[in-house]
Symmetry: C2
Subunit: 169 residues, 2 copies
Amino acid sequence: MPKRRILPYVLLGLINNKGELSGYQISQEFKNEVGDFWHASHSQIYPELARMKDDGWVKDKDDGKSTYYLITDLGHQVLRSWMEEPLQDNEELFSLKLYFVRDGNDPLLKILLKQELQLNQEKYAHLQDRLQEVFYNETEIKNNFGHYLILTRAIEREKNHIEWLKNKL
Amino acid sequence: MPKRRILPYVLLGLINNKGELSGYQISQEFKNEVGDFWHASHSQIYPELARMKDDGWVKDKDDGKSTYYLITDLGHQVLRSWMEEPLQDNEELFSLKLYFVRDGNDPLLKILLKQELQLNQEKYAHLQDRLQEVFYNETEIKNNFGHYLILTRAIEREKNHIEWLKNKL
DNA sequence: CAGGACATGTAAACCGTTACATGATTAA
DNA sequence: TTAATCATGTAACGGTTTACATGTCCTG
């Protein structure tokens, strides 16, 4: 399967959230809030915006100083359908998509939480299996102490995350 | 600053842990334990091993079936100095390096924990600042609920991690 | 009027994945 | 004997970063 591109959806989400944005403003966005969850450099942003315009996801509005991009009806559909796509592999997608959910009553919120819960329960089970398989006695722990530490830490981390997710559902 | 390559150090660490490994065995390693913390495909591994041999980090031993690689004295130095380099940017480096620390009494263990603690305290402070800046009242929370959720989740996550690190120090 | 921020763009290099190839060995 | 696993390699493609480039506007 060809790896899904994420950048265009991020740009679409940002433009949708703010109403209109120029390429420069988008690159500034990545230095602020959304920067904690995703990043892109201006050399990616400008060509991507051009492509999105070609595809009819956005339309542009030039005031002579900057070119601002606004989301089109098609863009709305594309964004929504991406948001509704099941989460997979990429760990950061959950945070990123959640960032774009503005309304606490949007049903997407619960859907995302449920999907993430599912993924994390699988991961938790997988890590527990590893722990059983690899560290079956004290000697193994002693001889691979760093591995033991991060594995138990990863398990704790998943547990915390699962608890948080359940709590929000 | 040019971004540091990590792959050669991972291969070096694996070879060092196991004594000797063929390219194929390394690719299998990534399907097992270390696969939870790092990954590389065989098309990266083989050329990288050749480069490492050219650089004198490893030497090879061919039994007609497979080519096995062993770490050299230079390789040991390179690995150790990489392990001692301060952690930075890349979040996964902490787990990865810890994976290579086998002896619980290796002073590197505490050094890594301290470095990670430092990084995480900075990140925690940064996220707290964001929370204060962006969500100064209930309206902001209501209008950006997804962002609020992941930001508070990220803060909780850092807090848990910091507690764990302190506990292990 | 100089330096920094605004604003946009392309080119090169780098790293990683997927696909393309090939051949030996082993187990059903 | 044929399919799976072992074993190694290169080529093509895609996405990201860094560097190269250029010009405007605003502020001290």
